[in-house]
């Protein structure tokens, strides 16, 4: 029987098949943060149930954390209490927490891979839809609700129906100045914000194969914006090189054993998918969204299409059909998030910003995805480049991606953002989000308007 990569991982994790396509799926790794876990711990206390495998659970506060002065107590009371609850729940249950203001704190989907918690062939869950990120390593990784967080904490298992499978093949190589973020925004625009609903996506083809792990993470991260529960890429030498030597990566003989198993993780030729799409990387240019879901995207030099279903979105965004975004003023820029808060993203931003100045009309949030990224940005001299240009380089957290902390975009303002969602009010009530790559965000930060980054490279 020909199997897909997804089939191979799924089958290996079935504890039992219950009925009507429902499987008890074993979860290798669970990541938790402060927003979606407290009610799960509370429910377990009520039931008198303990955490089943605390060593397979890792925590990091990220959604509520401030991105300045992290050494001080968190100012907002509700945020502080949420973080304290996570700390308490971890201490009570023997769960490792990479706490605020400690060496490895950061956004949960950045911390997992960089510490080697994320490994090929695993099943990984987190009460966060961007858990899809970890699929970059050839994992079945998906977001869950709090009831499922409780199930996974209590039993290390979930009851799941196997999703349909989709393969997206992207042939060729991305052009100069076009990044992984542009590729995924292009794919979402082509397949729509619900094009992947009910599916898991395998990304295949030369374009993904030639991407770094960080670029692959950006792609898989946004699978959920197509409605897919997750997306994955078969592990290869790029993956193994990335994982090797990290804190939680297997060592010595164990490494060799794992490696030989990981090398079997690929889709057999002739395996069948429920849906197949093929695109060519040379057709992709820097991409940007104009509406209020991530599927409303276009090439940076294109005009907003006339479409009746866009009326509500365009009204919110203050745009008209037929307009181009190029040259539109922006007053906010956000570079960060689990989509684009890694070292390569800040290197890309620095490439544009170096030798230029922040535009006077722009307020920018430059937020590393983790303490490790923050350190690296400083060590490589990138922070100095940002600061010389008039930017503040902040401390890690989810920040303005969802504006749960103090980092918000005011009502009516436009923000060129490297995050993953342009929903109404996502970056603050009334805020207008334009999703872009780090290159395009940096270009907007120095020009004060939507600019094709290739003009500054």
């Amino acid at each position: 029987m020909k199997q897909t990569l997804f089939d191979k991982i799924w089958e290996r994790h079935i504890v039992e098949s219950v009925t009507d396509g429902l499987d008890v799926l074993y979860i290798d790794r669970q990541l938790i943060h402060e927003v979606t876990s407290p009610q799960a711990f509370e429910a377990m206390r009520r039931r008198g149930v303990k955490v089943f495998r605390p060593q397979q659970v890792t925590a990091t506060p990220d959604h509520n954390t401030p991105t300045l002065n992290q050494h001080l107590p968190v100012r907002e009371e509700a945020s502080r209490k949420a973080i304290e609850a996570l700390r308490q729940n971890c201490n009570d249950n023997g769960i490792t927490i990479f706490d605020l203001n400690t060496e490895y704190n950061g956004v949960v989907h950045i911390v997992g891979p960089e510490l080697g918690l994320t490994q090929p062939g695993m099943t990984i869950v987190c009460g966060d839809s961007h858990t899809a990120t970890h699929g970059a390593f050839g994992c079945i990784a998906f977001g869950i609700g709090t009831s499922e967080v409780e199930m996974a904490l209590a039993t290390q298992c979930l009851l799941q129906s196997k999703p349909k499978q989709m393969r997206i093949t992207l042939n060729g190589k991305l052009q100069y100045g076009v990044s992984a973020k542009d590729a995924i925004l292009y794919l979402i625009a082509r397949l729509t914000a619900s094009g992947g609903t009910g599916c898991f996506i395998e990304y295949a083809g030369e374009a993904f194969r030639s991407m770094s792990m960080e670029e692959r993470m950006t792609v898989c991260n946004m699978s959920i914006e197509m409605g897919a529960r997750g997306g994955l890429i078969a592990p290869d030498e790029t993956t193994f090189r990335y994982v090797r030597g990290r804190m939680y990566a297997p060592q010595g003989a164990e490494w060799e054993k794992k490696l030989s198993r990981w090398k079997t993780l690929f889709t057999d030729s002739d395996a069948l998918f429920d849906k197949e799409y093929t695109f060519d990387a040379k057709d992709i240019k820097p991409y940007i969204t104009y509406g209020t879901n991530p599927g409303m995207g276009l090439g940076i030099d294109e005009a907003i299409p006339p479409d009746e279903s866009n009326i509500k979105a365009l009204e919110y965004m203050g745009f008209r059909a037929g307009e181009k975004l190029l040259g539109k003023p922006v007053t906010y820029v956000f570079i960060g998030s689990c989509t684009n808060g890694r070292i390569e993203d800040f290197r890309a931003a620095a490439k544009i910003i170096k030798g230029r100045k922040k535009a006077d009309n722009v307020f920018a949030y430059l937020v590393p995805g983790s303490k490790s990224v923050e350190r690296q940005v400083r060590e490589e001299g990138l922070a100095a480049i940002f600061e010389e240009a008039g930017f503040t380089f902040r401390q890690p957290g989810c920040s303005a991606c969802l504006a749960m902390n103090e980092d918000k975009v005011p009502a009516g303002e436009y923000c060129a953002s490297t995050s993953n969602r342009n929903f109404e009010g996502r970056q603050g009530a009334g805020a207008r989000t334009l999703l872009v790559s780090p290159l395009t965000a940096a270009a907007a930060a120095v020009t004060g308007k939507i600019t094709d980054p290739r003009e500054l490279m």
């Binding site: 429902l22 074993y26 927003v35 009831s147 609903t197 959920i224 749960m404 109404e424 009010g425």
Partner: protein, 194 residues
């Protein structure tokens, strides 16, 4: 979980596509560490203006509409996995959400909280909108045992799918976790073999 069998109710029509969970319950209300009280902020930024006054045009503020069923356009519940969205919908008093397409994570969260996601054709949903627009007192009947939904005034029915185990849970008020906790030995045996 509360049991669900047959429900006849009026509907609240929200004729919008791709309603994301940030609209259902904005992130700034997710800081509380309990499950209760989210209904007051359901659709907060569509329902109230920046000063906290009700937005007159929004359907939850229209006294003509009420009931235990929310009817929405396709791709309902997309975006964030926050179960708070399902809690808010349940807390407000909805037991059923009807849409031509549900986002996967939302659908699972709804099912785990006694809110039945009823996925039917776009045509059928359009018919509900049309009937409710004609007469806000229009009732629908959601019959879970037979998996049918009926617009009572029009006499139109359509079937909907639900996983048979989930249906069993819904009718009897069982939670998934009860089953998982009951097979701990099997889970341990799986771990040994791995």
């Amino acid at each position: 979980m509360e049991k669900f069998d047959v429900l006849t109710t009026t509907c609240v029509p929200l004729n919008v596509e791709s309603v994301d969970t940030d609209q259902i319950i904005p992130a700034r209300f997710l800081k509380t560490t309990n499950r209760a009280g989210f209904g007051g902020n359901l659709f907060r930024d569509w329902r109230y203006d920046a000063n906290g006054n009700p937005v007159p045009g929004f359907v939850l503020n229209n006294k003509a509409y009420g009931g235990q069923a929310l009817v929405a356009g396709k791709n309902f519940g997309c975006g964030s996995s926050r179960e708070h969205a399902a809690w808010a919908i349940a807390d407000y008093g909805f037991r059923v959400v009807i849409s031509p397409l549900f986002a996967d994570i939302f659908k699972g969260n709804a099912l785990n909280n006694g809110v039945l996601p009823v996925q039917v054709s776009e045509t059928f949903v359009a018919n509900i909108f049309a009937e409710v627009e004609k007469n806000p007192d229009t009732t629908i009947t959601v019959d879970l045992p037979t998996q049918t939904i009926t617009i009572n005034s029009a006499g139109q029915s359509e079937c909907f799918n639900i996983n048979s185990y989930k249906k069993h849970c819904f009718i009897n008020g069982y939670d998934d976790i009860d089953y998982l906790l009951s097979i701990k030995e099997k889970i341990e045996a799986y771990e040994v073999n791995e």
